[in-house]
Amino acid sequence: MSRLNSAGLVLEADVLVVGGGPAAAWAAIAAQERGATVVVADKGYLGTSGAYAASTSGHKVLPPISLLRDPVKFERYALGGYLAQHKWWDRLLEITYDRAPRIWEWGGYEIPAFDRSGSYRGLQGSETMRILRKVLLQRGIKILDQSPALELLVDEEGTVAGARGLQRQTDTSWTVRAGSTVLANGGVAWLSKALGCNTNTGDGALMAVEVGGELSGMEFSAHYSPAPKHSSVTKSAYYLYASYYDKEGNKIEGLNRNGHRSTSAIAKELLKGPVFVQLDKGTEKPETREMLRLMQPNFFAAFDKTGIDPFEQKWEITLLLEGTVRGTGGIRIADDECGTTVRGLYAAGDAASRELNCGGFTGGAGPNMTWAIGSGNIAGRAAADFARSLGRSSSRRNVRGAGSVGLEAVRPTEQTWDAASIVRGVQDEVFPYDKNIFRSEKTLLESLAKLEEFWKTIQGTPLQDTAQHFIRSREVAGLVATARWSYYAGLQRTETRGMHKRLDFPQTDPSQRHYLAVGGLDKLWTRPVPVAEEVVEVPEEKAKLQLA
């Protein structure tokens, strides 16, 4: 802990935003517009951090016409197990419609005309984040890059009062005393190298639980996307043009369903042997190929760099785990303002549970981005108001760091524990398809037993000789903790719903249409939380609309 206690950079702000993706950037902008002074601290660089900058996600910017907005709300409602809430969707779509076009304006671009679907194509994630960074700096918002937050600060009443961490390139500590804190530092993909996801090591979830917060939807963390084998490029939309082949070159049928790839069907096939793909369905026209290239330059980077023509040649695929980044789980939102169960703490983007608009299904390709923009704006605004309500005395509070496991020796050991072997151990439990996609009481209990051992090990003395090791030890705690919460929640949800598939409970149980709050550090717990909205019937015309 000495590194964090040492005199380093000390700042005061009304609002501290932790994170460096779109939700963090929007939270900072919204808080500042509400009159707050804002500091943003990110592990990486606000502009490249997180899944969005690297992988881009389209999002619809829809005028307030129910004919246009309803299909978006209903598209994944059933797939998500009826856990999404229409009142949240309404707010998120409204905020996105209001706010997202500003990015074009700030970037100096003409706002494009709406197309027939009532939406327009977004910019690449890297360009959007470049513009958002510029806006933050223009507005005098202080950004601490390469500065992972390692623990929250709490006052004597347990109210969150900022955070502290390490500037990893200079090995100096930073402390931000703040009236309120927004955690927007991403979900967890367990260092799978899924595109842009390795900054997402579950830091926010662990920090929130350490101050008494709780999570939700952690059982919906089994999201995988196909990628060319050995690559990081988990861009999956174009697999709708895919034919699948075995190693003899025979076609494998049934891996795409309703025009989309079926993760579980691909996983079943991969458990049998290698699977190859060629984008040879409906891609004959050169104009189609040109269009696809222009739409997703990152998808083609994987092929251009290895000299493969994905339209003409077959390539081997794998499925990479995207965890809660394109799955759902995260810090439980406890009110309408993206507040958590802890005073002074707000959550946005992937760090928060996304069940409110995605239910138990993936929000990839649209809903996730709507959530990032919407929740970022809601949380930033509410955090500013909370900070103001505390008044000037807030910076005079007595505070302490709330972090523990991975930051200090909870139960000191002679030898430091080996971070790399713990990471591999956790990955051996969460990566395999037959453990994470196809779950049963037996496999979940076996994995939980192993994860419990890792949890015990990391109570020992962490390796802290360099800034990098100091940070990695803390990240490992996030990886172990989030894996435990995911599988523990998965064990308690004794049904199949959304992306949570139980082989021993293959049906959806109507009596389990609730959220599952999960928390605890040494001792885990779950608690059902009712969905504050009755099931909304999918109207027939709207069902047709979504197919059209």
Binding site: Y45, A54, L123, E127, Q146, S232, T288, L294, P297
Partner: protein
């Protein structure tokens, strides 16, 4: 993963050190930055996209080195190719491709 910092192309601006989200590079005073932690590279290609000198190469193979040399990369036109595709190269514009996409969509249709 990150393959190389071109000795001859690098202008020592240390932009890659600043922007890498997983802190793979170390700045070296008076010299080109070095790849200090290649194993932490998440293969997101963003350092390449930000490099103003097109001096970096990140291969698509995330777990092993491609073994490509600077000459190979030159021959295959791989320096700066991704930056160009994003519209970030000199003279490029990130929205040029959007206009072309719109034209192509009207011609061949688009599923999304």
């Amino acid at each position: 993963m990150i393959e190389l910092v071109s000795e001859s192309r690098c202008i020592q601006c240390d932009k890659c050190v600043k922007v890498c989200p997983t802190n793979v590079f170390d700045a070296v005073p008076g010299n080109n930055p070095v790849i200090a932690r290649a194993e932490d590279c998440q293969t997101c290609f963003l350092c390449e996209a930000y490099c103003p000198a097109d001096a970096l190469y990140v291969d698509a193979r995330a777990y092993e080195h491609s073994g490509l040399s600077e000459d190979d990369l030159l021959e295959r036109n791989l320096f700066g190719a991704y930056r160009k595709n994003l519209g970030w190269a000199k003279g490029g514009n990130p929205i040029d491709s959007l206009k072309r996409i719109q034209e192509l969509r009207e011609l061949v249709g688009s599923p999304f």
